[in-house]
């Protein structure tokens, strides 16, 4: 049984890998490939949010600001100092992470509601600075002329080639998060989320872990921003407005808070759905979107990940009523063995 399940899983991963590698040749349209690239970038930012919201239960309504900090760091280093993609890749996430610590330090001692409101203020301040500090950020004109990534003879200048680079970053980001989640640090995050007092009594410094989680979250945002800057080759302030922070939160909520796969699926869905809804006028789509969010919160609070889990459990229970317990809970023992988190 176990062996069979294991080989099935390998088969699944192999199929997924083939589809992912072949995707650019399957999707011929450059436009849709560009949308896929964007979905990958958003997924990374949403994965960051998942650390703060999913693992420590705090709300960050400034992920777009960290995304912007990463993008502007990359844009400025590249256009002013001529740093190549790989150098800005090492600079942008720590930069965003440092801002995260700066914001987190005064606010993370307080209840999550204060953090939520403080992050909004931070997001607005960053956006207004990006918009108005013309000498440094180019103001409303933004910064054009950011170089495409180059690796030896390869230049990642088309949507299709950038796809592979973005996908590699996303896979690394997702695996890193899986590693974090199942590490001592990840358990500390969960402990802080479940019961802060109990965590503190077991020697977990809740404040320290909240700051770490927040820094990681903003670093993910910074990575997404760096990729975005080198892909679009142009950054300007209005991209990084609070609307995007809220959209990132919705992506995570729809995918399923706490789930890595959910974060990626949620981000991809909400990148594509507005494109599919293009035939509707802007406000119509946004009004429907607003209603959909309320419905989601009421009927699917755990997002698609939660929905999938409960469907799988129900099917498993029907197929094998006696093994309900085992099939229904893919818990501790197997996570380590197969490397698969929920």
């Amino acid at each position: 049984m176990r062996v069979k399940r294991f080989s099935l899983r390998i088969l699944f991963y192999l199929a997924a890998a083939i589809v992912l590698v072949a995707l650019p040749s399957l999707v011929r349209s450059n436009y849709w490939l560009g949308t896929i690239d964007l979905a990958i970038i958003y997924s990374i930012a949403v994965l960051g949010l998942n650390i703060v919201l999913g693992l420590t239960g705090q709300l960050n309504i400034a992920q777009a600001a960290f995304w912007g900090i990463g993008a502007y760091t990359a844009a400025l280093l590249n256009t002013r100092l001529g740093w190549p993609f790989w150098a800005t890749l090492l600079a942008a996430p720590p930069m965003a992470g440092a801002f995260g610590v700066m914001l987190g330090f005064p606010t993370l001692r307080l209840s999550g509601r204060y953090l939520a409101l403080a992050t909004i203020g931070f997001g607005i301040i960053i956006n207004l600075i990006l918009h108005n500090w013309k000498e440094f950020t180019g103001g409303a004109d933004g910064i054009p002329g950011i170089a495409s990534p180059v690796l030896g003879p390869f230049k990642f200048s088309t949507n299709a080639s950038f796809y592979y680079l973005g996908l590699a970053c996303l896979i690394i980001a997702a695996l890193a998060q899986l590693k974090i989640k199942n590490s001592r640090m990840g358990r500390a995050f969960q402990a802080v989320k479940e019961n802060e007092l109990a965590a503190e009594l077991s020697g977990v410094n809740a404040f320290k872990y909240r700051v770490i989680a927040f820094a990681l979250c903003s670093a993910y945002g910074g990575l997404a921003g760096q990729l975005f800057a080198h892909r679009t080759k142009f950054v300007s302030a209005e991209t990084f407005f609070i609307d995007m922070s809220i959209l990132f939160i919705c992506m995570l909520m729809i995918g399923g808070v706490g789930s890595i796969a959910g974060a990626i699926v949620g981000a991809s869905l909400l990148t594509f759905i507005p494109e599919w809804l293009r035939f509707l006028q802007g406000p119509w789509a946004m009004a429907i979107f607003g209603l959909a969010i309320i419905f989601m919160m009421v009927f699917m609070p755990d997002g698609l990940a939660g929905l999938t889990r409960s469907i799988v459990q129900r099917i498993a229970a029907r197929i094998n009523p006696d093994g309900q317990e085992a099939a229904g809970r893919p818990s501790s023992g197997r996570i380590g063995a197969t490397g698969e988190g929920k």
Partner: protein, 294 residues
């Protein structure tokens, strides 16, 4: 450069804007205190009645008194529907879930208003024909004085409501300990519904007062909500006097900073105050102890 008349004019204007922030922050704080939610649609609580009053006054040419009464009547309905759809099905869930639900409501209201009323900014006619009146030698628009006076009246009203009436006591009891209140026979669900309606009415009054002096647009709620958040953090999250003082403080400081430091960064100052308060006195001017509210 500095002269007393300008200073006084700025001060009154700041107080008027601050009174609006205070009313909106009050609406925000009431819901936070009563049910522990952060209402991100609080700006739409101002935008919707703003539009309703503009349409009644300009398109339908309804007399002022009736226009205002109908607007407030519709806001009673609005508050009740909001409570039933956005909050009630989610009561008892984590605060993030309810927060996201109010974000959904905000998006919905903003865009349906855009579809219904169009993208052109609207201005409602004011009650007053005079452009400015002399107030101790300072010329100020009478609407500003009306706004400030309304805030004073509402503060007194609310004090009497909470401290002197049974309904007010029940609202306080429900906010403090819902389970205990229920055990004492207080109809908690009804009280929460009344609190939502009251919060909605506060937004309605702000919207009506703001419409003659501020462009009414579908997006106006956004900045107002953000200023209300800053006000309630500055005053102390969930504190009623804090919301009022915080709102007035943000209104005045913002206007002076815009006039004497930088008009470009006008909107930044509210958030700089927000972050500064969090650094120096996180519980705000009137804050209680800070702990995760259950």
């Amino acid at each position: 450069m500095f002269d007393v008349t300008t200073f006084a004019q700025l001060f009154v204007t700041g107080l008027a804007m601050g009174s609006i922030y205070a009313l909106v922050a009050l609406s925000f704080a009431l819901l936070y205190k009563a049910v522990g939610i952060l209402n991100f649609a609080v700006g739409e609580f101002v935008m919707v009645p703003g539009f309703i009053s503009v349409v009644l006054l300009t398109t339908l040419k309804v007399p002022f008194l009736w226009a205002y009464l109908v607007t407030l009547g519709l806001m009673v309905f609005f508050g009740a529907v909001f409570q039933r759809t956005v909050y009630h099905p989610l009561r008892g869930r984590p605060f993030v879930t309810v927060l996201v639900s109010t974000i959904g409501a905000s998006l919905f209201l903003r865009n349906t208003s855009l579809l219904t009323f169009g993208a052109d900014p609207r201005v409602s006619p004011g009650l007053f024909t005079a452009k400015t009146v002399s107030f101790f030698g300072v010329f100020v628009p009478p609407q500003y004085l009306l706004i400030i006076a309304t805030l004073i009246v509402l503060v007194v009203f609310q004090y009497l409501l909470f401290e002197k009436t049974l309904l007010g006591k029940k609202m306080q009891a429900t906010a403090q300990d819902r389970d205990m209140a229920r055990l004492l026979g207080i109809p908690v669900d009804t009280i929460i519904l009344i609190t939502f309606i009251y919060a909605s009415l506060l937004g309605g009054i702000s919207g009506i007062l703001l419409a003659p002096v501020f462009y009414v647009t579908a997006d106006m709620g956004f900045m107002i909500a953000l200023k209300a958040f800053a006000s309630s953090i500055a005053g102390g999250l969930g504190s009623i006097p804090g919301a009022i003082v915080g709102g007035l403080f943000i209104g005045v400081v913002e206007l002076f900073c815009a006039a004497y430091i930088s008009a470009t960064y006008k909107d930044v100052f509210a958030f700089v105050i927000l972050i500064a308060v969090l650094l120096l006195r996180p519980q705000g001017f009137f804050g209680e102890k800070i702990a995760e509210k259950a």
